[in-house]
Assembly symmetry: D2
Homo-oligomer: 401 residues x 4
């Protein structure tokens, strides 16, 4: 057994298959893909990568399976491999490029079948008698054992919540994962949390809630990611970037490509490098915006153009960001009490009300260069028919840094 | 400046008055008074004392006042002294003996006027030109500056939440107190939290919520504290313990006295020493118990006797514990936003709903020796007219260890 | 499996035998015995107990044995029990009373045969088929497996170094014990550290070195412990304290007894309560004192009397404290490299030189009430023929607080 | 005052000048320069950047100056600015490119005069009345106040030791910097540590020692850095890279350039990306190598060529790495005791012997592709006349991961 030192979990043991998979160029690429995209523009410590997160998820999967005697050694190895490979499908800057890649290649990041079915990874899997197809199903959470990696409460989110907290410095991003993992097992083919793990499960929800408001939905992150995503799509349309190649790039590749890009994309690259970000022209919660805004999600480009027209500015000066309405999937995790399974948000009143508070985190934003903010803001308000009350109070909640 | 090393805050600086007050026997006594009474029966690390908590509160008060230029040096010294002395009125095992002491001496723990107005403490205060009467008012939160020590969000609860978490090991008992303290100042004679501290204030509420469910309301703590309190009252009635003297005792004094006590009190002492605790005969939430049970709070003794009769056991075998309905005073802290003051639970939707969840923590308990649990439980249910449904599910939430 | 939450190791699992042993009054007594005697007079957080340390040692023993397949389940249970019971022989305030107890009862704290061979503990052991005699041998490190508990690098010192650091706040008292434990196994009946654990073993030595200078040898600790020990012996000679009974007391018993004691012992009790400690009249390192002073260790009482005479003060005003020359037993731990065993201080140059530095920590002290310090100091210097140069520089190294 | 959250120090306050300097593209570039070059190939968490380290050093400088009333507000601002800018002269991957940049441009990383004397930084400094020349002198430690940034014990090394420990996970890389900073002040124009800070200064030395062996001198780091440095020099000689431009690059620029480079440099880039590193053909300590090897430091290229010839391999297959003999500058820090200044290694015996142990960390290495290791190793031994005894034992000390 070899070990590697991880600032979050301490020593992580690596058996043969783990070492061999780590040695593939596909896994080594993850060393150069930031876990949190551009969050380091808000939290300067957030430079951690998908590589260490993958190690962490594998480690937690091992811990979880340690006491599950019903799973054979072969299957355990398979799940460890799947945990290690679960993010191998991420494009540069992780989620930043996910939607664009999906739009042009029809692959989301957890769609790893093709990647693990060829090249060095395939060879390693073959040597250990693991079918790439089975492994890909585990990653997607389509198998029973796959729930360990991908379900309401899985090792993936346990690791990233704790890890993101460690590197941002956000104190509340902790999860009592030792306890949680000890209380998880399979019951009638479902991965469930035993009643003794209820408080630990609640801790995961608090952590999720806290990281959402402080980190994942931070407007500076949203803006810089929207800018990057914009540049990428511009380059694709311009023929300067091949979507299939994009998916195999690392952060370095994409950054270099953007810096070399012509016009708008190059300008966005220089802005990101110098942290000269677009600003919030309009930024509003669901209550004030009205649910009607959600239908714009399917035609963002047109919406941006129309607002730009209304404001009398170049369309490139308007970025519209309308997130999906938030959901905390974790709430549907199954708690086992007295031989019954109960969804977490029914078992815990606390969790049920966290759900409510969670909706408050949703914000839509219209972003533009500082000098056009006033005009664009005015136009956007008119366009979306947002009432006068700016609710500055509610908003500034997120305005740190 | 001398320093002392504190596991929670690191180095704590002590100026002259602090060192002199620490040297008084009244403050030294706090070294031998456990901060959390009998919580160490659940969390073995919880052996910390009022002495270190007093140092911590003084330290946080200094930090809070550092940037408040409107407070003169003299006043700052006064508040530091008050922070250090704020718990000097605690009896043995802190809150465990508070109600009995109050009942027989009409002094609650924050009623320190008498204590600081005589002996060594008076001398130190006099030397530094501080009036004991003024200081006692600060401790009670009856002055403007006193809000630093005693108000909705004060250094007292910041320190104890963080400290209790450190010693119990409960992960979520953290408070972003550095941020919170930096955002607090006086506005129109009120100690308020600036808007930038809203998330930090929320962190305090989460911490409070978590510590309540995990530690402060843990049934094993409640039971052992009820047993101790019972023994103390028995001794007072028996003439074996003088209430005025009790208030000046430390944990050692009281434990030794209980061990030497006759009959019931001695028996309870031996039970506590050996952790042979009473068990829950009835344990139920407010919803199931009905608000009617609260009126029994004024006549616990009679209630116990009647239940004992109904069960056919000795009255000493029944302890009824009906806490006040919970309140989280912190929710009323004032947040300052755009020159307006808004209560925390209005400024933060999250906090407002925590309030709701908080009510779920309330439990009443009827405790008795294991061998009488069944009979007493049955009698208590009948007596309080608690419906059949035992709601074991909800209850076991607290049943760890 | 039940669990208990420990601030140092997190959740500790307790199987049946562990729970049953914990429930005995002998183990419950350890809840009221401070791990570090009077160190809380220097480090206010150091109120932790032998109870939690025992749990911690048991936990580390379990971890260490997890991967040692050559040890059967029965033997593992035996060692877990022994780890839990290894400190059950401690008297009040741990090491403070050890020498006196030894002098009058010929029992050191690790001499547990008698204690585990009767009463509740014996019953539990019997139920689980464990011989008290075998267990006592493990505790003394007289068996092969006993090395886990008591040898150069054992779970006992791993736990207490880390635990004492946690509660004092001393930053460097950490040990990379996860790594160390993972690298330990039996080789030809010796518990050895594999070469991969060399750095981790070094970390233990650094920790030991640091804790010695900062905590264990702190002069305030030494003084208060000497005062307590003095009072205890006085009471024994006076017939106020039975040595056999002393060994079964907890801190509360002894403190109460001292407070009630007559004369000198009572006075010392009041001094300890109020932290009115003796001061250093003479305090000097081995180099300046000369090795000759060591021979006084066998006749401390006479030495004290003679110094007192020379100084013209009451013998009760002189306490002489001459520690053994320090040794770091850990240095003799065996490192296994390429099928050879090499002592740690040969395998690691760093460790070999730590040994040297370690000698600097030794100090002898002559203590007396403040008002007699000058006279006693002068007399002591003359008596021990200590040269003029007081080396204040070297000494003040330890003078914090 | 704005704040930013740092995982190491918590909230860091930023006044106007700090915010303005951070907003310059020169400082933003540091976001993309890894603090530890290629150490993340050993410690996967070590992805932190010069940007956060610069913030940290500025923060510690502020703390240090807080109580130094003799320094005026203007000077304090100047030092804060200098602390923030002290690493603005680093090339990509920090120290990895330092020697090459120095060789071709005659600028070391702390030679910032040119950089701060033009562009956006100059403008900010001018606005605040700070002379770029003065600031550059502070950075080099050539002024009295500059000792805060650059001297035997300065905020630079305090921050990086603690920060590197946080991100690698190495437990012992801690420094009691709160205590240390509190004990530092100017005495006769020297920045000295008061006697009360001696133990804290020792903690810094332990940390340095530990980080040297575990991180800074780790052979995998040395190898990958040597490979990168080799590639860079190859590109310069080949006309593919301009040294002046190199100095302004970030990690992305250099990585992209290396990937695009022809021949040997491109091959090394692909090796680094895939972590197919050269291996140790010879790796030996000073004792075995003999001091004579040090003279090869001035003619590494020729040495490599000659070894390659001897081994019958391409010169590109041989990398010789002969570090300077180690020194711990910190040992010369001045301790102030009783109005005398004494070097740290005289004031502390412990430190003096650490120096000795420190020499053991030195290793020279000859690296080559795995397939040539045997031949190259044999040739190198012959070439350097290294005796037979391979001392595998001593060496493997560093061989983790």
């Amino acid at each position: 057994m070899n070990v590697v030192l991880d600032p979050v979990h301490g020593y992580i043991e690596m058996d043969e298959i783990v070492q061999e998979l780590l040695a593939t160029p596909q896994m080594q690429r993850l060393r150069r893909i930031k876990q949190l995209g551009f969050s380091n523009l808000v939290y300067p410590g957030a430079n951690h990568t998908r590589f260490e997160h993958s190690l962490g998820a594998m480690h937690l999967a091992s811990m979880l399976m340690k006491n599950l005697d019903s799973i054979g050694e072969g299957k355990k190895k398979e799940i460890r491999a799947a945990a290690l490979l679960h993010d191998v499908g991420h494009g540069p800057f992780s989620h930043v490029t996910e939607n664009v890649i999906d739009k042009y290649t029809r692959h989301r990041h957890d769609d790893v079948k093709e990647i693990v079915g060829k090249g060095e990874i395939k060879e390693v899997l073959k040597k250990h008698g693991i079918s790439p197809g089975d492994l890909a199903k585990h990653v997607k959470g389509e198998t029973s054992l796959g729930q360990i990696l991908s379900s309401e409460i899985d090792v993936d989110r346990m690791d990233y919540l704790v890890r993101d907290a460690h590197y941002t410095g956000v104190a509340f991003g902790i999860v009592d994962y030792n306890r949680l993992i000890n209380q998880m097992h399979f019951y009638e083919d479902r991965l469930v949390v035993d009643y003794g793990g209820l408080k630990a499960a609640e801790s995961l929800l608090v952590s999720r809630f806290w990281m959402n408001t402080s980190v994942y939905y931070h407007h500076v992150t949203r803006i810089s990611e929207a800018m990057c995503s914009k540049a990428v799509e511009y380059m694709i349309k311009n023929g300067e970037l091949d979507p299939a190649r994009l998916r195999q790039m690392d952060d370095t590749d994409l950054t270099a490509a953007m810096r070399n890009a012509s016009g708008y994309a190059g300008e966005l690259a220089r802005r990101l490098d110098a942290r000269r970000l677009y600003k919030r022209a309009l930024y509003t919660g669901l209550e004030d915006a009205g649910k009607g805004v959600l239908k714009h999600r399917d035609k963002i480009e047109r919406t941006e153009k129309e607002i730009a027209e209304l404001a009398g500015v170049d369309p490139q000066c308007v970025i519209v960001d309308i997130p999906k309405t938030p959901e905390m999937l974790e709430m549907k995790a199954m708690i086992k009490a007295d031989h019954r399974l109960i969804p977490l948000n029914e078992a815990s009143h606390f969790v049920s009300i966290l759900q409510e508070a969670h909706m408050d985190n949703w914000r839509m934003g219209v972003y533009s260069p500082k000098e056009h903010c006033e005009a664009v803001g005015k136009a956007a308000k008119e366009y979306f028919n947002v009432k006068k009350a700016t609710k500055q109070f509610k908003l500034s909640d997120l305005e740190k840094t």
